[in-house]
């Protein structure tokens, strides 16, 4: 009874339909923009220009995309085990705490070459620990991971506020922020690295974390599809009874997957704290953990898709800011509406156009059909 999944050719499924969905989202956004009396074409032009039109814009787009790759991968990995990790926000936050503590402790003494691996490790470790507890509760106590990860987001932010206000605040500072790290604990910026190579580009927050994010994509791809652990993860996620049948310890897999997921989310701190702010501060996660859910959904939980979706969301963030900057009547709330429409059309309504395309495709391919004897 199931409709053959492979009716449509790959490129229609993976390229054409998502592009049309985004197009539809922009169409509806355009209507909204028209109703407030602005020119929608101009708005789109500003948004695209603001996201890709000049070096700094590209830098910002890539910087946002870096966050989304990390959180998107975190959501995707958990999703492959059938877990819905809503806690990327908190894990990233606590990952930042770990990274910040390491930087504050070592930036005066250790050289760059030693601090950076420590930063990677500490952000992963802290993010991991923050996901471990909900994972454990899900596996051994049956508390649903959706609920516990949401709760842990709140606990993370409570903990961070407490620590920033009472412990880590720079003495005499107005705002609850730590002192700035020494430059030995800065993740190099892309413009800095390129400058060393002799190419000069406009400074932007994009930094080497982006490359690490791409490494993580490869890692996740190998892990999920080409390792026995990934096999166990996918088995648990697609068919838990089959996993039990296969002698896979499903509880251990749940905890383990949450740990990997949390570590990936923790890497957001590399980009934000290590690469941009160079000091520990509140709310640097700014909802990237939640946006990661949409990114993963749109990227079909595949690293390649996640990279593309991250670029899209990075462009929406940066282009959206540009739009709000240039057109006073388009407020940041309207930008959120546009982002929401893109998520709606490419996430929630992703399959809206499919039946139509299936029908068209069948019509087109009618004469070329092959008879198979079932």
């Amino acid at each position: 009874m199931s409709r053959a999944a492979g009716v449509l050719p790959f490129w229609v499924d993976v390229l054409l339909i998502p592009l049309l969905n985004i197009g539809l989202a922009f169409l509806v956004s355009g209507l909204v923009i028209v109703t407030i009396g602005e020119n929608p074409l101009e708005a789109v032009r500003l948004m695209v220009y603001g996201a890709f039109g000049y070096e700094e814009a590209i830098g910002y787009t890539l910087y946002y995309a870096t966050n989304f790759i990390f959180t998107g991968l975190a959501v995707a990995v958990a999703f492959h085990a059938g877990l819905f990790n809503i806690g990327g926000e908190g894990q990233a936050y606590i990952g930042g705490l770990g990274l910040g503590l390491v930087c504050l402790a070592t930036d005066q003494t250790l050289p760059f070459a030693l601090i950076v691996p420590l930063m990677v490790l500490s952000s992963a470790l802290f993010g991991l620990l923050w996901a471990l507890v909900p994972g454990y509760l899900q596996a051994y106590r049956g508390s649903h991971v959706v609920i516990t990860t949401i709760m842990f987001n709140f606990i993370a932010s409570a903990l961070m506020v407490y620590l920033m206000v009472n412990v880590l605040i720079e003495p005499g500072s107005m705002s609850p922020e730590s002192r700035s790290f020494a430059e030995s604990a800065w993740i190099p910026s892309l413009h800095g690295v390129l400058a060393m190579a002799g190419t000069h580009i406009t400074p932007s927050p994009a930094n080497v974390s982006l490359l690490w994010a791409l490494v993580c994509c490869v890692f996740v791809w190998l892990f999920i599809w080409h390792s026995r652990w990934g096999y166990a993860v996918r088995t648990v996620g697609s068919n838990e009874s089959a996993a039990r049948y296969a002698g896979i310890n499903t509880r251990r897999v749940v905890v383990f997957t949450m740990c990997v997921s949390g570590a990936l989310a923790g890497f957001v701190a590399l980009n934000e704290i290590g690469g941009v702010h160079h000091r520990l501060l509140l709310n640097f996660t700014a909802g990237y953990g939640f946006t990661g859910i949409a990114v993963s959904l749109m990227g079909r939980n595949h690293p390649l898709g996640i990279v593309l979706a991250s670029l899209l969301f990075g462009a929406l963030y940066q282009g959206g800011a540009e739009l709000a900057f240039e057109v006073p009547t388009i407020t940041r709330d309207l930008v959120v509406v546009i982002q929401g429409l893109v998520i709606l059309f490419s996430g929630a309504l992703a399959y809206m156009l499919r039946p139509l395309f299936e029908r068209i495709w069948l019509q087109l391919s009618q004469p070329a059909a092959v008879t198979t004897d079932a």
């Binding site: 107005m174 609850p176 909802g287 006073p328």
Partner: protein
């Protein structure tokens, strides 16, 4: 005093900005947004007044994450805006960075201090205003227990709380102050439901006057006070009119004036860099008395508070500032 004030026009040319033939002032609101019923909205009111009076348009931007602060300030400067007002202490580091990049652009930061020759820092002595409303709370309280509801637990809010507590204790050393913070995320600045809940729980514990320093969350606190027939104290702007009859007073912090002055002085050339500390003496903070709360503040109460106000201005009474040592004396 500053020799820098003739430079913006040159700067605009040097940056080849096509937009700024005439330097336009600009404001970068913080995450709460310009309609937060509180701090950012105060700034908004101030810059709107400037626009209405002078007819000079201004640029504005509302940031949505940490990184955008610096981005927005830099863009404003690139476009030749001048002066540029940054709202809130969180923009301090960004102003510092961008201020260095654009030494010829004038920046004003509200609620924080940035030590650069082209930055004007405006800070308020919230502890002084809070001290006075604390006195009023203690004088109006019948139970000897008063409440404080903050937004997020950050040093600035502790500064409010600390001044308030000192004012309460100044009147009645045995009075009790119950403090609650609304939350740990920025959502705490706009959670009237939670505010009302916290207020009710404080009332259950004997509180009969509550001071809310929590942005939009305060609306719920005032409503809860009106419902329970307790007294509430507003914050930032004069909020007495919100619940006439149960609003004891408001601790006003004139961010609107600060923003207006920054734009105004920028336009007429009287803008000066350096730190401006606006306390009771400067009229930057104070307590609101109007037709909505006259009945609640009898003459002798008023006299007592006005005396204390004069003493603080004269330096006879010292109100401790939490931020000086991140500590509040008991």
């Amino acid at each position: 005093m500053s020799p820098l004030r003739v430079l913006p026009a040159l700067l605009a040319l040097s940056l080849a900005s096509v937009f700024a033939a005439e330097p336009q002032p600009a404001v970068v609101f913080d995450m709460g947004g310009k309609f937060d019923k509180s701090f950012n909205e105060g700034v908004y009111n101030g810059v709107e007044r400037f626009r209405e009076e002078t007819g000079i348009a201004y640029r504005e931007f509302e940031v949505t994450n940490e990184t955008q602060r610096e981005q927005a300030l830099r863009k404003m400067a690139q476009r030749g805006s001048d002066p540029i007002v940054g709202v809130g202490f969180a923009q301090g580091p960004a102003i510092e960075t961008v201020g260095k990049m654009f030494p010829d652009t004038r920046f004003t930061i509200i609620d924080s201090v940035v030590d650069l020759p082209n930055v004007q820092s405006v800070v308020f002595k919230e502890h002084e205003g809070s001290f006075l409303v604390g006195m009023l709370a203690a004088l109006a309280s019948e139970t000897g227990t008063v409440g404080f509801i903050g937004g997020m637990d950050i040093p600035l809010i502790r500064k409010f709380a600390c001044g308030y507590e000192q004012g309460v204790k100044f009147v009645n050393p045995d009075a009790q102050v119950i403090q609650n913070m609304t939350g740990t995320t920025p959502a705490a600045w706009n959670d009237p439901g939670k505010g009302a809940e916290l207020a009710r729980s404080q009332f259950d514990r004997g509180v009969d006057v509550v001071y809310a320093a929590a942005g939009g969350t305060g609306i719920g606190v005032y409503q809860a006070a009106a419902d329970a027939d307790k007294l509430a104290i507003g914050v930032d702007s004069n909020q007495n009119h919100l619940q006439p009859g149960t609003m004891l007073t408001s601790m006003v912090k004139r961010v609107d004036v600060a923003a207006y002055n920054a734009f105004k002085s920028g336009a007429d050339g009287s803008w000066q860099s350096g730190v401006q500390v606006l306390g009771l003496a400067e009229g930057g903070v104070g307590w609101a008395l109007d037709e909505y709360n006259e009945a609640l503040v009898p003459a002798e109460m008023r006299a007592q508070v006005e005396q204390a106000e004069a003493d603080i201005i004269a330096g006879k009474v010292q109100v401790h500032d939490y931020m000086q040592d991140n500590n509040c004396p008991d």
